[in-house]
């Protein structure tokens, strides 16, 4: 029972923090410092990203950041807070509001041997620059026959925020995920963010790093290994956040939180769900999903993007094409964003994105249960 609770707290931090919340004074102190103390070993997603960039900038002089408000404003979402003070204007560069231009500059800098981290205030604005990301960054190594690498990281918030409307809420994982030549990462926890961003910065390929604004303030426990300044996670490997035997739930980014909450509810009803945190969109770790499906025989994919031509569609297709098809006892289920431009009104917005009850309902459907 104690072991189960320990496992529980590790994978359901939202609930664990309710039980194991440190004293208010300690929390306030940690917040003011902006870092978790080593003894607490927990960190917000925002801080994990900040620390990752700081460590990589200390490790390699060629790493620099450019984007809107990254320097003096300390970051539109405070992800780059303090970095201008630590590294100076040469390495943390405020740009004008010209995405196509500064994304192109990031590409040119990468082609010349630097390691730029190009921040988009959100990936909605990156559509202005998508030609530079896909055509100038993504394809150049191939078109040059391996002569010209492009080690650039494009990062920023992706997908739903809260009440920001249709032009500011789109999830681009499927768009970038379809491009050979790019790597696409969609982390969930603080540990994911730290390890994967450090890996992305060190990666010689162009990497699209999709964060989520609603996750920035969420605190997660950090293993002592994750606190090291040499901690990286492999791009292209998913993580089984919670083991189970009855159904496989695959999710990425914020949807992992909802999937774990759903797994808790399902557990009360005797359904042991296995929750897989994709971590990377491309390369997609289909092997981990296949192994899980072979164990549980049922698959549910949860994502925040539009349903058409999405991440869920791709995973479903790959599973159906593989030997895991023979292990399915039910059709593959997808829970996605609704096929609508994101509305503003709170009640309508709630209907536009997956939530825990929807995931529970669909999981039960995959198990042929109606209650």
């Amino acid at each position: 029972m104690a072991a189960a609770r320990a496992a529980f707290s590790r994978v359901a931090p939202a609930i664990a923090s309710v039980r194991a919340r440190p004293s208010l004074a300690l929390k306030r102190a940690a917040f003011a410092r902006g870092y978790a103390t080593a003894s607490e070993n927990s960190m917000t997603v925002r801080d994990a990203l900040n620390v990752a960039m700081e460590e990589e900038m200390m490790r390699d002089e060629n790493v620099f950041i450019l984007g809107e408000e990254v320097a003096r404003y300390n970051g539109a979402y405070k992800v780059t807070k303090g970095l201008l003070d630590k590294f100076g204007e040469k390495r943390v560069v405020d740009t004008p509001i010209t995405e196509m231009g500064f994304a192109g500059i990031a590409v040119g800098a990468a082609l010349s041997g630097l390691r730029p981290i190009c921040e988009f205030m959100t990936f909605n604005f990156a559509m202005q620059a998508i030609d530079q990301i896909v055509n100038s960054a993504g394809k150049t190594y191939y078109m040059s026959g391996g002569n010209v690498p492009c080690p650039v990281v494009f990062r920023g918030p992706n997908g739903a925020a809260s009440g920001v409307g249709a032009q500011h809420s789109q999830d681009y994982a499927a768009w970038y995920g379809s491009i050979p030549g790019l790597k696409v990462v969609s982390p969930w926890s603080a540990e994911d963010c730290k390890g994967l961003l450090k890996a992305a910065i060190r990666d010689p390929n162009p990497v699209v790093f999709l964060e989520n604004e609603m996750m920035y303030g969420v605190t997660f426990p950090m293993s002592s290994e994750a606190m090291s300044d040499n901690f990286t996670l492999p791009i292209g490997k998913a993580k089984v956040e919670r083991e189970g035997t009855d159904i496989t739930i695959v999710a990425h980014s914020k949807m992992v939180t909802h999937s774990l909450e759903a797994a808790d509810i399902l557990a009360k009803e005797g359904v042991k769900a296995e929750v897989i945190n994709l971590r990377s969109i491309r390369p997609l770790d289909i092997d981990t999903i296949k192994a899980s499906v072979k164990k549980t025989n049922r698959l549910l994919i949860v994502e925040g993007g539009f349903p058409a031509f999405g991440v869920g569609s791709e995973i479903c297709a790959q599973i159906v094409e593989s030997e895991a098809f023979d292990y399915l006892d039910a059709p593959v289920e997808r829970v996605t964003g609704a096929d609508v431009p994101t509305p503003y009104a709170t009640n309508l917005e709630a209907l536009a994105f997956p939530d825990t009850p929807v995931i529970v309902k669909v999981a039960k459907r995959a198990l042929y249960r109606t209650n």
Binding site: G108, Y142, G145
Partner: protein
Amino acid sequence: MASLARFRPAVRRIPAFARAIQTSADTTQLQDIIEDQSKPFTVKLHEESFRAYQCETPSLEVEVKKDELLKMYKDMQTMRRMEMAADALYKAKLIRGFCHLAIGQEAVSVGLEYGIKPEDRVITAYRCHPFAVMRGGTIKGVIAELLGRQAGMSHGKGGSMHIFTPSFFGGNGIVGAQVPVGAGIAFAQKYLGKNTATFALYGDGASNQGQVFEAFNMAKLWGLPAVFVCENNKYGMGTSAERSSSNTEYFTRGDKIPGLQVNGMDIIASRHAVQYARKWVTEGNGPLLMEFVTYRYGGHSMSDPGTTYRTREEVQRMRSTQDPIRGLQRYIEEWGLATEQELKQLDKDAKAEVDQAVEEAKQSPEPLAKDLWTDIYYKGTEPSSMRGREREEVHHY
């Protein structure tokens, strides 16, 4: 003829440059009799070789050397021969897809190379073959790339528009995208403390792209050592400059960035201007704009005859009166640096060099099927497998 009339502009075109710049290739004058041909001597450019915007024009007195002029002649001739060979190979269906030739524009690519240093950086769009060779590539490597062979500079994976050298960043297919990338290359040069100049070229057609102005703004704001070069050959595909641009004085479009318009048919003027530009940006004056007024005899690409939007007479006139190679030939002969026979020998050498390169390129095999899968990701960082056309076509790394 009536069908051509449809394409003639309704408004009588007032030549945009009639007021000042002239584009003849042979108006440079010798200043004094050359005493010793092994030493540099001074020539004077035509007073309408340059126009300046918010800066001074370069001086009209230029120091040249015999052996350098002969080398430039040979290089221009070789580049022309290479482009003509590509034309023939395309018509023989050995080159496919896009092929944009720079015949007529040799003074720009060769003039650029002779005005800069090996460690400087260059990036341009798709009319890139002569630049690729000048910047350290080979004719065989370029031709083999056009033929899609292993010996191609991109091993057959890129084609005409994607050829690179360590100091030449292509070869870019998306009109205008190379300009911010060029600004980024300049950014890196400054970041790394290198005392180099980065030349980012684009055409009159690309000059109206928003991202070009975004690059201008950041280059000026941050004082980048970038020279933005508009290769104005007067037509963006089939649309003349007057029909695409409300302001055809491209050297003035940098707003706060000074600019220089240059006679791009006279290689001595072109090279001199490039040296001026290089000095400007490496001395910490921030970016500079350049506009080379030049001309292409061929169409936009091999798919375009080049005669539906301009008259054959215009093309013929440019060829016979403003050809950059003929212009340099006149200088060399008039200044007594070489005889017609000696220059004809250089012509033959150029042709032989290109012919041999073509033969060698043709010998190179097509890429292996497995090369479909290489270079998608950096060597050693590939995923475990990549998918082909159907689920059983899987390549494992």
